[in-house]
Structure formats: C-alpha cells, structure tokens
C-alpha cells in the first residue's frame, strides 16, 4: 500500500519561523508616511500593535524562535499532514507527483490560525487584555476568536451587520470560542455612533468595522488590534507550514520542482513558499508560483511603483506591485484574492525574479476544485481552488513534456461554509473576464506622476 499522508511527529514541529527579509537580495524599501515622506516606524503603529510584533515586522533576523507556549497550542492541529494526490495524478494521467499541504485541518478550517495564535500570544505577554478585529463572513474573526481564547484574552469582533444577520454559522463559531461579536456599526464607538446617527438602519461595511476595531484599540491602553494578512509578521508566522513541509518531503526523498500558492494579501502563499524561496536563493532550481485571478492581475501585469493606497492620498506610500489606485478589478468569486495591492515582501520577490505570478480564470478554478473534490475528496475554499488549478496545469504540462516533476501546492482551507460559490458555478452564473489593455493603461497613467522606487519596472 502506498503512503498517502506524510506526518511529522509532534516533537518534529519546527521551532523557529523563517524571515525571508533576511535573505532577500534587494532590501525592502520602507513604507513612507504621507505626511512627512519619512519612513513610518514602530512608534506610528504602537497604539494598535504590541512591541514584539512590531519588532518582528521590522526584523532582519533569519530565524525567529517560536515561543514554547505557542508551540504547545500549535499542536492542537499542527504539524498538518502532507498528502500525495495519487487519485488526481491518475485522473490526469500525468507522470508528475502531486503533493498538497492540508491547512484545512485547523479548528477554524484554514491557515489563518497560524498567525492568529502567535498574535494572541505576543499580545498576552505584552499586557494586552483584549484584541479587536473586523470581519465580513467571519473566517478571520473566527480564527482570532479561537486563538484569543487559547491564551485567555478577550476578543471583540466587529462583524459587518449585513454579514452578522446573514451568516450565523461563523458568528456562532466566534461565540462558541468566547468572543464578543457585535454587529457593526455599533453604538460602542464614535465611528459607529456617527454612522447610526445618520442611518439607524445602516447595514454596515468593512470600512466602518475597521474604524470601530482600530478606535477601540486606540482608546484603551489594554486593547490592541489584530490583522490577518499582508503585514510582514503575519507572513512570518505562516512559514511554519513550509518549514514542516520541507521536513515531510525529506521523508519521501522528493524535492519540489514547482511550489504553488494562491496570493491575495500574501500570507497563504508565503507560508508554504518562503522557506523554498530561501532554497532557491541558495541555488535550488525551483519554480515558485503565486496564483492570482486573471480579472485582477496585480502581479502579472502591474508595474512596481509607489502607489497611494487610497485616492485621498493620506496613507503611507509603500513599494508594491500595483495597478494604481483607480483600478477597479473585474469580478471574481474568491474573496481572499481581491486585494488591490499584495504584500510588499511578495512584490519584492517578484521583482527579484525569485517567484513568478500566474493568472487563472475563475471558471478554471472551479473546474479544478470540482475535479479535486471528485478525486481527492476535499472541497476547497474558492481561493484555494486557484492553487489547485495551477497544480493541474503543471501536471498536464509535465505529461506533455514527459517529465516526472514534483509539484507541491498549499491546500489552504476547506470550502464547506462557502458552498454558495459552487452553487453559482454549477448553475452557470459565473463567467470569466479578461482585463483589456486600455483599462490597464488608463489605471497606470494615474500613478505615473508618483515618486518611483529604485526598482521601478514601469515603462
């Protein structure tokens, strides 16, 4: 009988996170404060983040020890299993070996607790009593709720009211884990009250919920705010996944030719890929692919430039791949992939040609997800389907080339509370969109006058 799942024992769990910033050939360009034009520092963010996380955010240390208390809690679901997708390989009739890392086994069903747990811990030891955050349907809110409870922190989640009313299950998950989940706008913050005064029946928005969560943190010294994507420390915490995977693959004698992850804010992709990027920097020949939708081609077609994160132009300038702040992406049914800009770390690795981006039409992602479910059994989250689709593309290519490639992808979460997207796919209500060149050029014209970083790649 063939080995389907490759496990690590609990004693083999990695003891450190990997910080790719230490190995990047090009040092990261710092975010610039829009008011001063000077680099934004830890003190700017101190009202909402504890100092250990801000230190990690700026750190150049290659490895950062995972505290023992975090390791103990990681053991609830980690190490996560590495699977060999034999039935998918057979279905595709490919000579490729396909592996996937199953991050859907966490209690919250995705990779998100990898950082939620670490953030809860560092807040706990810094004297924080309560964490706040915002959530829509509740994937991040539920992950943070669970992890706060594990470290005996209070958790307050401002859930957009329309989601609060329509998505009871993740709300109930949060409540089960002891979090206080309130519909936003609430009467508890100035930001919420202002909205309610104008419209008592406001259904809320993510923007309002963020304002409430940040305000609650700023106004109480023992309360901090937590974010689940984009930031360097978030990506750092996710690397435990790729580090585990390297140990698991060593058991098989295989090493990946291709490493794949879907990239929205970047934490999902970074978690699996960054430890392999380190190998690539040190000479390994690996194709590391960040997958994005064709309808929002931030990485595959956007230049590297300083972009204002908002058109009011009051927020820090940060070097990242971007299509410009006036770009309105086409529709895609995978909420996690809709960031206008991706993580600065991921952008810089793209610029240094250490990773590459590939864009996938949404119909192909759902076709892949259904194929995966019907061979390997697991129903993927819609954003996870992007990685599945590229894995299938690479396996088909290996067949055409007659190569026995080793393909590894991050199966970042299950889609069991997201079946409406599949329903729309089966009902034929989804369609593909390609961004026209003139739309891209129009968006890029907007950022032409902005200051350019040293590695600017635009025309």
């Amino acid at each position: 009988m063939q080995t389907k799942k490759i496990f690590l024992s609990e004693s083999e769990i990695p003891r450190q996170w990997y910080n790719v910033a230490a190995d990047m050939p090009t040092p990261m360009e710092p975010p610039l404060h829009p008011g001063t034009g000077q680099p934004a520092g830890p003190e700017d963010f101190a009202p909402i983040f504890p100092m250990p996380l801000l230190e990690q955010e700026m750190s150049q240390d290659r490895f950062i020890d995972i505290p023992e208390a975090v390791l103990e809690k990681y053991l609830i679901w980690r190490p996560t299993p590495l699977y060999r997708a034999y039935d998918l390989e057979k279905h595709l009739d490919t000579p490729a070996k396909i592996y996937f890392k199953n991050e859907g086994v966490s209690p919250a069903g995705s990779h998100k607790p990898n950082t939620a747990l670490a953030q809860a811990y560092y807040n706990k030891i810094s004297g924080t009593k309560r964490l706040t955050t915002e959530t829509g349907a509740g994937q991040w809110g539920s992950a943070l709720s669970m992890c706060c409870k594990l470290f005996d922190l209070e958790c307050k989640v401002y859930m957009v009211k329309v989601s609060y009313n329509q998505k009871p299950y993740r709300r109930m998950m949060m409540q089960t884990w002891g979090a206080e989940c309130v519909p936003s706008p609430s009467s508890e913050t100035a930001a919420g009250r202002k909205i309610l005064e104008q419209n008592p029946d406001s259904p809320g928005s993510l923007g309002i919920a963020i304002s409430e969560a940040v305000e609650a943190a700023v106004q109480d010294e023992t309360t901090k705010y937590s974010l689940g994507s984009v930031l360097n420390h978030v990506l750092l915490h996710q690397t435990i996944n790729g580090l585990e995977c390297q140990k698991q693959l060593a058991q098989t004698g295989d090493y990946p030719d291709v490493v794949i992850g879907c990239a929205g804010g970047g934490s999902n992709f970074a978690g699996l890929a960054f430890p392999f990027v380190r190998d690539k920097i040190n000479g390994k020949d690996i194709d590391v692919i960040a997958v994005e939708p064709t309808s929002c081609p931030t990485m595959t077609r956007g230049p590297f430039a300083y972009d204002f994160g908002d058109t009011v132009q009051m927020t820090p300038l940060i070097a990242m791949n971007t299509l410009g702040h006036s770009f309105v992406p086409e529709p895609i049914h995978a909420g996690g992939l809709r960031y206008h800009g991706i993580s600065p770390l991921v952008s810089q690795l793209l610029l240094d040609n250490l990773i590459r981006a590939e864009a996938i039409p949404q119909l192909e992602t759902f076709e892949a997800g259904v194929k995966f479910a019907r061979t390997e059994g697991f129903i993927s989250a819609p954003e996870t389907d992007h990685a599945v689709a590229v894995a299938i593309r690479e396996a088909v290519k290996a067949k055409e080339e007659g190569k026995e490639k080793v393909i590894l992808f991050n199966w970042s979460g299950h889609g069991l509370v997201d079946m409406a997207a599949y329903e729309a796919y089966f009902a034929g209500r989804l369609q593909d969109h390609a961004l026209h060149e003139d739309e891209i050029q129009r968006a890029l014209a907007d950022i032409a006058p902005l200051p350019k970083p040293k590695q600017y790649t635009g025309a």
Binding site: P31, H33, A40, D44, F45, P47, I48, G136, A137, G138, Q139, V160, V162, S163, Q166, K167, A190, A191, I195, Q198, N199, S202, P203, S205, L206, G207, I210, S211, V214, E215, V218, Q219, L227, S229, V230, L231, G309, D310, T311, M314, T315, P316, H325, S326, V328, P329, E330, P331, I332, A334, G335, R338, H340, G341, A420, A421, G428, R429, Q431, H433
Partner: protein, 92 residues
C-alpha cells in the same frame, strides 16, 4: 452569460468578494454611507450595463467620491485610522 438590458431588482443577489457571501444589489448601491460600494461597477459588470446606470444615478461629485476616492487597503490605512481614533479620543 449575456448582459441583461435592465437594472436588476434590489433583491437580486451575487457573492460579495469583500464580505465573502451573497448580498443583494440594494446593499451594493448603498454600502458606502448611502453611496455605492466602490466595487459595484466591478461586481455587476457582467450582469447589466452598470457603469451606464451609475453614471445616470450619481452626480459627478458622487461619482468622484465613490470611484476616484476608493476605500483604503487595510494595511495602508492603519495610520490614518489611528489618527482618526486619536482625534476622536481628544474630542471626548
């Protein structure tokens, strides 16, 4: 799928990529403090001539507010949010 020539009813639902679940058209039209969500044109593009519709519904100033002053990314808006919260605290 072909575009319908008419504006959908307020009750028609599509998946919201920001919130992660199905929401009615009425929400998209009012999400931004009574103005449309900045992704309305994007999300409804394939369903009906939404840009044409919005151009008619909104004043030029509203159009600019919604589609030129886009909501901020989480990461890049944090400092701004902190400053707003500090100002709110001082005003108490």
């Amino acid at each position: 799928m072909t575009k319908k020539p008419t504006v959908p009813p307020d009750t028609e639902k599509i998946r919201c990529p920001r919130l992660g679940h199905q929401i009615p058209f009425s929400y998209c039209r009012r999400e931004n403090q009574g103005l449309p969500c900045f992704k309305t044109a994007d999300c409804w593009h394939s369903h009906f001539p939404v840009v044409e519709y919005l151009r008619k519904e909104l004043t030029p100033e509203q159009w600019k507010t919604v589609f030129m002053n886009r909501p901020k990314q989480k990461m890049l808006s944090l400092l701004d949010q902190i400053e707003q919260a500090k100002a709110s605290k001082k005003g108490k």
